[in-house]
Symmetry: C2
């Protein structure tokens, strides 16, 4: 149809020559800049079309200092981030980000968290979205040092972070347990200093005070994955046998806890309710399926990208940054059916 296959890709010089104008004029005509005679502009456009000309992103980027690329980065401990669970979480976000980015004329680069500890130096990006940064996050440091702007998902509260609504999520989970007849819900959280951990603990302690039950919290090391959850649940159920429900935000732990509960003679969903946070593969394929929370990741990723673009371009829609993401909603499954079910 058009240019012969294998032929060198047309450059701005080709268009200029064919159209009988300078490269400057081609640039202006195609980018709608400056004053260009209407006829000249049309001629340039026609030639560009005929030659199937597309400006080189590379060259343009070199000149403008922009790569038109974004990435989603995470420094989560790989044991947690690797398994199907967290990978699903990461992947869901990445797909959402990529979609929004493409729509806005940016390309989205994939940096699997398992592949490399700190890929920042290897990536040619204008900005990044950083997932759940730790207090002294190495990736955040690298980004700062390179002067690459970033927006955080679930980072320190600010206009540079998109919230995952941990408080609400934790509240929804605790309330649900009590509603389903639990009298002594326990909590299993990770040892790392992530916001989600703190929020879960606080909300849980508040609820304990308010509803008058003794709090029972166990901590597990994220890097030990499922086994850590197993051990934490085992200990908690031994020390506090009256525990009739477990709130376990980290789904990897939840899987281990279900195993521990079952081995301890509990029937999950009847005399031991279990719920987790991320509604991913793990929650859904657990036996029985786990009640979890719909975090609205599509919306979260869209907002994160838009906020990042506001920073990069200076002039995106400033209104969208106001629109808070939708509240987390429960996905109720068999694991919290309750004793009466």
């Amino acid at each position: 149809m058009s240019s012969p296959r294998g032929s060198r890709r047309a450059t701005i010089a080709d268009v200029a020559r064919e159209a009988g104008v300078s490269r400057t004029t081609v640039s202006h005509a195609l980018n709608g800049l400056g004053k260009v005679n209407e006829q000249t502009r049309d001629r340039v456009r026609t030639v560009a079309e005929r030659l199937n000309y597309r400006p080189s992103v590379r060259a343009r980027g070199l000149r403008s200092g922009r790569s038109q690329a974004l990435a989603l980065l995470s420094s989560m401990p790989s044991a947690v981030s690797a398994g199907p669970s967290q990978l699903g979480f990461f992947t869901e976000l990445a797909m959402g980000c990529a979609r929004t980015a493409l729509l806005k004329g940016y390309v989205f680069v994939l940096a699997p968290p398992e592949a490399e500890a700190n890929p920042v130096d290897r990536l040619d990006i204008d900005g990044a979205i950083l997932l759940e940064p730790a207090a002294d996050d190495p990736i955040a440091a690298a980004l700062n040092q390179r002067g690459i702007p970033f927006v955080t998902i679930d980072g320190p509260a600010s206009d540079r972070s998109v919230d995952l609504h941990h408080e609400q999520t934790a509240e929804v989970l605790v309330e649900h347990m009590l509603e389903r007849g639990a009298a002594r819900p326990g909590l299993i959280i990770g040892t790392s200093e992530r916001r989600s951990q703190r929020a879960a603990r606080e909300v849980y302690l508040d609820a304990a005070a308010k509803h008058g039950f003794d709090p029972a919290i166990a901590e597990a090391d994220e890097t030990d994955g499922e086994d850590a959850g197993y051990r934490a649940a085992q200990t908690l159920l031994t020390d506090r046998p009256e525990t009739d429900a477990l709130i376990i935000p980290i789904d990897t732990f939840a899987t281990g806890a279900v195993r521990a509960g079952t081995e301890a003679g509990r029937v999950i969903g009847r005399d031991l309710l279990v719920a987790t946070r991320y509604d991913g593969l793990r929650a859904r394929t657990s036996v029985p399926p786990l009640t979890a929370v719909d975090l609205g990741l599509d919306e979260v990723s869209r907002q994160a990208v838009e906020r990042l673009l506001t920073i990069l371009d200076g002039t995106d829609e400033p209104d969208s940054s106001e629109s808070e993401s939708t509240a987390p909603s429960l996905v109720i499954r068999e694991s919290t059916a309750g004793p009466t079910a």
Copy 2:
């Protein structure tokens, strides 16, 4: 610690100035090219380190004509590719590709199949991996026209395609059904001309001839998603009520078929066995869970990237292209428990 935040990123000119040599020498020293005095080389290295110098991928790419980026592309009908099922398939492959690519010094760009029909012109890539191209694939055409080399996953058999072992997969599924006591297995496939469809049909027909059962095949339009599977199963079960098993490579269809079967009074896994191909979210969260095939996508994506790099770099390990991917293996679940279970 190192350079002040916000400071302009060091360029080769900075290093050259600080080291008291020319940019040429810096380039040679850092890239290990040409003859450079050992002391000079060391000095350059030290300065580069001190300034935290990293060559600009952009500039290097402009000069060398390479972007050091790859992408996974797909032109599957979006109704099929969008749902959680196919997106999971795509995503699994993308993650695998990204990992291998990063390891080899390439960046992996994400182009969600739902975002844009043909993103080729928007992507600055050296090569691509094309997923299940149709006979006259528009993306393949665009890639050819732009002179971008690509390797195919499940494309026309050649050294440019990584096989998904459709024949073996289909065989494994048919054999399993017969083993589990099915006497009249039926087949539901898509109408599109993909290799997987043809392979399934052929293997199925062969098995019918060999084992002496009447073939019962229904076709469904991929673009209609789950409903198409529902209708196809309904028709098939009405026309051929003796059917006691359904082989449904496309998991979206399988979900619909399970619904149709249940509505027709069948007990899935007992008097109607059901199995699908891709072992994704759909198969696992179906009720009951669906027997599926472990396609070894990690290995497939690794091979695809390596084969692509062989083409791009001319000189990757030529041996790895020989290593055929591992055979597909069955993941047996409740949906094919069988009447005696």
